[in-house]
């Protein structure tokens, strides 16, 4: 059998979108980089009933693939799909293209999947971007700091005492702490470290490293669970 599978929609619409659907699925990118590609690729298998015909197996997966902007092609025991910017509600949104293959293993059969995720790859790279922003903050601070010392001295000369603010009597009665005297110098006042802080950049780099690790574990687990659940249910009649 070749061509588009009868039960699989290649172009679908729904309340969350009618994105343009590519004419033919691109399939998995041809680039093969052993080990490193574990960053963005997820492979695995789920057991299937060996008595099921490939058409029946793919028909059961149809609800997962019948989403806006998804192109699907089934040839024999192999199904290839690709998604063009899938909607947030798409259950396979993380994996923008993939290949599903039915294989006989002894007396049984399995559905092997090989999925590609732009989101995982970008998340893996995101810490570099935020480390770059942090380094940009450090560099700008150093550059601006060079000319700051002279102007600081000039400013100090014409410093006027600031008026001390007093709380409203209502707040005094209710016991709110009084404002600090702005003229009192703090003993532990640190030397000015510059206009920008690199800390936010370092923080976000750490957050994205964590998001990647969670996603690399969670998303394969979810996709396996979804395939398993879809394969366990015969498609609705009609």
């Amino acid at each position: 059998m070749s061509g588009t599978s009868g039960g699989i929609a290649s172009e679908t619409t729904g309340p969350w979108g009618a994105a343009p659907s590519p004419e033919r699925p691109a399939g998995l990118p041809t680039m093969r980089v052993p080990l490193i590609d574990h960053i963005w690729r997820v492979r695995g298998d789920v057991p299937i009933d060996p008595l099921l015909a490939p058409e029946e197996v793919f028909a059961r997966l149809d609800p997962l693939l019948r989403t806006p902007g998804t192109a699907v092609r089934a040839e024999g025991g192999t199904l290839t799909y690709s998604k063009d910017n899938p909607a947030a509600q798409d259950k396979l949104a993380t994996f923008t293209c993939g290949q599903l293959r039915i294989e006989r293993v002894g007396a049984g059969a399995v559905l092997r999947f090989d999925l590609f995720s732009h989101a995982l790859l970008l998340c893996f790279l995101a810490p570099l971007l935020f480390l770059g922003f942090a380094q940009m903050a450090v560099a700008i601070n150093a550059w601006e700091g060079a000319g700051a010392d002279a102007s600081e001295k000039a400013e100090k000369k014409d410093e006027k005492p600031k008026p001390v603010k007093v709380l409203n009597p209502v707040d005094q009665f209710l016991g709110a702490p009084a404002p600090e005297d702005p003229n009192k110098k703090k003993k532990d006042e640190k030397k000015d470290e510059g206009r920008h802080s690199p800390d936010e950049g370092y923080f976000m780099a750490g957050v994205f490293a964590l998001i990647y690790l969670v996603g690399r574990w969670l998303e394969p687990w979810l996709v396996r669970r979804r395939f398993r659940a879809a394969l366990a249910n015969p498609p609705a009649a009609g």
Binding site: P15, W16, A93, A119, A137, P163, K165, L174, A176
Partner: protein
């Protein structure tokens, strides 16, 4: 779709929108769950006010506010998990990662840019023009009144900026990407083109002299009120709250796929600004977005105002000088919608 008449407008003619408080969903579950999701919002608002009112000076600082905000976000994410408003809005790993990118961009790169051209710099530049000392009596007002004034003044500016974005094409181009979101989650407020995020963040509150504690209190009001406009949690929000404050119900109407509905509920915190200026629609919507719910990815969000601005300008010039309209460019033009 028939829609519902609200004032002189028909709401919900293009896409489903629920109009009227009596028609919106309620929290499902036992008495404990009902209690928690009825009183959570006011309880947290009063707790935040009490904390910032009485916190000693060494604790009442910006870094404490940042730490509290982080913990607060984690708590709200947990609430979204426990009691979602709509399954179709449920946060996925990919959506969380996408939202985190926008939050991170705001905290890092945009923060740096803001230090040079943000409202703080603009205020400093114009401060010499007027005698602002005349407003120094503000600091003598009760703290809570100062905080409410700061919050309302900021929100008043935000209301008109937001309304202008929906009614003037160049500003709309910056705001449109934010309207391509098809879910509401707590971080979705950060999703949008950087120019829009900069414009909507401009405030005039800094012009006036308030006590630092009043600013922290105003921040606490924002954190425990406006944060709910993008939350996927079903609350039984008290009547008085939804009369005064903006809610996710109001904001979902604003984000719906119905054009007229999007031209309502512009405020961030105080929905009474919308009530005063006649743009409030009480209700809720589930189906959100633009162009039938097409998702806009990060790359397109970044270039959208420039790309569409260029296309529109080119089409206008072609029309003006009679060079023949390009049908492809015409289809790319869009009507401003909130």
């Amino acid at each position: 779709m028939a829609g519902v008449q609200v004032g002189k407008r028909i709401i919900g003619a293009d896409a489903p929108v629920i109009v009227g408080w009596e028609n919106i969903g309620r929290v499902q579950g036992g008495p404990v769950k009902q209690f928690v999701f009825t009183y959570f919002q006011p309880a947290m608002l009063f707790a935040a006010i009490l904390f910032w009112y009485y916190a000693p000076n060494w604790l009442a600082v910006a870094s404490t506010a940042i730490a509290i905000r982080l913990g607060w976000m984690i708590l709200l994410l947990a609430l979204e998990w426990v009691n979602p408003r709509y399954e179709s809005w449920q946060l996925t790993w990919k959506e969380f990662a996408t939202d985190a990118f926008y939050v991170g961009l705001g905290m890092t790169f945009l923060g740096m840019v803001d230090a040079y051209i943000g409202d703080g710099v603009i205020i400093k530049a114009v401060q010499g023009v007027f005698d602002w000392e005349k407003f120094s009596w503000f600091t003598g007002l009760p703290l809570l009144l100062q905080a409410v004034l700061i919050s309302m003044i900021f929100d008043f500016g935000q209301y008109w900026m937001h309304r202008a974005m929906h009614n003037w094409y160049p500003l709309w181009l910056t705001h449109a990407p934010h309207h391509y979101i098809t879910q509401l989650n707590i971080n979705k407020g950060a999703v949008g083109n950087p120019i829009e995020l900069f414009l909507i963040g401009l405030g005039i509150g800094g012009l006036f002299d308030f006590l630092p504690r009043a600013f922290l209190l105003a921040g606490a009001i924002g954190m425990t009120v406006s944060v709910y406009q993008h939350i996927n949690v079903r609350f039984n929000t008290p009547r008085w709250w939804r009369f005064i404050f903006n809610t996710v119900e109001h904001h979902s109407v604003h984000h719906s796929q119905d054009y007229e509905a999007t031209r309502s509920n512009y405020s961030g915190t105080w929905i009474i600004w919308d009530r005063i200026f006649g743009t409030c629609v009480d209700g809720e919507a589930e189906v959100l977005g633009m162009e039938g719910g097409r998702r806009m990815h990060i790359g397109e969000t970044m270039i959208f105002p420039f790309r569409e601005g260029w296309r529109s300008t080119k089409a206008a010039l072609d029309k003006r000088f009679g060079r023949g309209a390009n049908p492809q460019l015409q289809t790319a033009q869009m009507e401003p919608a909130e």
